[in-house]
């Protein structure tokens, strides 16, 4: 039995727009930085939402490649960004499997919890490896902004692909 989400396909044009936007935001990181809104999470959000729609294995490999591209661009450890992106991809799939018909709320819970967990992990990592204490309010603002962006992006995606159903 097919779920609602698997019935929705992105056509070539919509796929191209998704990839262009993704690379554009990824590339903009060399110019735009913000302490309240982590752009890395925005990319994660895009992948999380995209993972709900029909995809093929090429997308998984492309996401891994984007990760490696980001690593060389920003000087991250090789594999870090791919791991980050694939984590959101995996989570998007799991959330979709659990919610059955692509429940909006369950997706939101999955996404929010994953952002909170990653922020906690980031905080501990920076504290123990670099003795840096992250400001709690910045993490909180980032989370709120990510939830708002989730609601906005999800609706945008839904309206974007509704014509294909």
């Amino acid at each position: 039995m097919k779920t609602q989400s698997s019935l929705i396909n992105l056509n070539n044009f919509q796929n191209s727009i998704f990839h262009f936007l993704f690379i554009f935001i990824l590339s903009s990181q060399i110019i735009v930085t913000n302490s309240y809104l982590n752009i890395l999470y925005i990319l994660g959000l895009m992948i999380f939402i995209r993972a709900e729609y029909e995809y093929n294995w090429k997308l998984i490999l492309l996401v891994s490649f984007y990760g490696l591209y980001q690593d060389t661009l920003l000087g991250f450890q090789f594999g870090f960004s791919s791991l980050f992106f694939l984590f959101f991809f995996f989570l998007g799939q799991i959330s979709n499997l659990v919610s059955g018909k692509g429940s909006f709320l369950i997706n939101l819970y999955f996404f929010s919890i994953s952002v909170v967990l990653l922020s906690i992990f980031e905080g501990f990592f920076l504290f123990f490896s670099y003795s840096i204490v992250i400001d709690f309010y910045k993490v909180f603002i980032n989370l709120i902004l990510m939830i708002i962006l989730f609601l906005f992006t999800k609706r945008l995606f839904n309206s974007f692909v509704s014509s294909n159903v």
Partner: protein, 272 residues
């Protein structure tokens, strides 16, 4: 070829196969991160050959954003010019007196050095380079400069702006180099604080101002104390100005850098 599909993998549903692929890649990249692949020679050569290309590609893609930000900054700068001009006129007289004092002090120091028979070990040749771009995320701040192997750059060379130390060279390519800024979390600089030369280490904190750790005589440090390189460890020459203490709390001492990294257009790379 079709016979190969009678395996366990192909007997699974399409969705399961894709989940297995994601899991496999997740494990692969996790191993890559945990195995510290980044410290290997292979990783260094891959990064050196691919980062210039990825940067150029990103610069082209992000050019509309760059254009928008530079336009916005120009508007802000123009509005500041009038105010600064007014302030500068008022300061002109006192500045000329300060300038005379500085020249007098410089001459005196030169005279004392000659009398004490000390040699000047703090003058170095330098290369000037244009800042191509600032590459940053929340914690790993660096700049790309238009000077590389052909100009004699080497990893570890100190980089100065107009007012003080900015960072040091990290990766050197043929025509460009990547420099780690003082705000980068990987930056660790031995510093000397105030005229009493309290020794400490300054570490980058990403978006926040750098902080001072391992400070000796911590209780003697005051807000406003000047911070310069100590020269300890031979990483940087001594007496290069960095910034001043901006705040002191129970947990940390923060440093306000003299150099406004956002406005850097050119830097000097010391041959040290």
């Amino acid at each position: 070829m079709r016979n190969n599909r009678n395996t366990f993998f192909y007997s699974l549903s399409s969705k399961s196969r894709k989940l297995i692929l994601i899991t496999f890649l997740l494990v692969f990249f996790l191993t890559l991160v945990l195995s510290r692949f980044d410290t290997s020679n292979l990783s260094t050569s891959i990064r050196a050959s691919s980062s210039e290309l990825s940067f150029n590609l990103s610069s082209i893609i992000a050019s509309p954003v760059k254009l928008m930000i530079s336009g916005y900054n120009k508007i802000i700068d123009i509005s500041r010019v009038y105010q600064e001009n007014k302030e500068l006129r008022e300061l002109q007289l006192s500045e000329s007196i300060s300038f005379q004092e500085i020249i007098e002090m410089k001459l005196k120091i030169e005279e004392y050095e000659r009398l004490l028979n000390t040699f000047n070990d703090n003058q170095f040749n330098f290369t000037t380079a244009r800042v191509v771009s600032k590459i940053s995320n929340n914690y790993l701040n660096s700049i790309l400069i238009k000077s590389g192997e052909v100009n004699g750059l080497e990893p570890g060379m100190p980089i100065l702006g107009l007012k003080g130390l900015v960072g040091f060279v990290d990766q050197v390519r043929k025509n460009t180099s990547v420099a780690i800024l003082l705000s980068n979390i990987n930056s660790r600089i031995p510093v000397s604080i105030s005229n009493n030369s309290y020794q400490a280490i300054m570490i980058g904190q990403g978006f926040k101002n750098p902080k001072i750790v391992f400070a000796k005589d911590r209780e003697s440090i005051r807000v406003g104390d000047k911070i310069s390189t100590s020269g300890r460890g031979g990483i940087f020459p001594p007496f290069i100005l960095i910034g001043q203490v901006s705040s002191i709390t129970d947990n940390e001492i923060e440093v306000k850098l003299f150099e406004d990294i956002e406005k850097l257009t050119h830097v000097r790379i010391l041959e040290y």
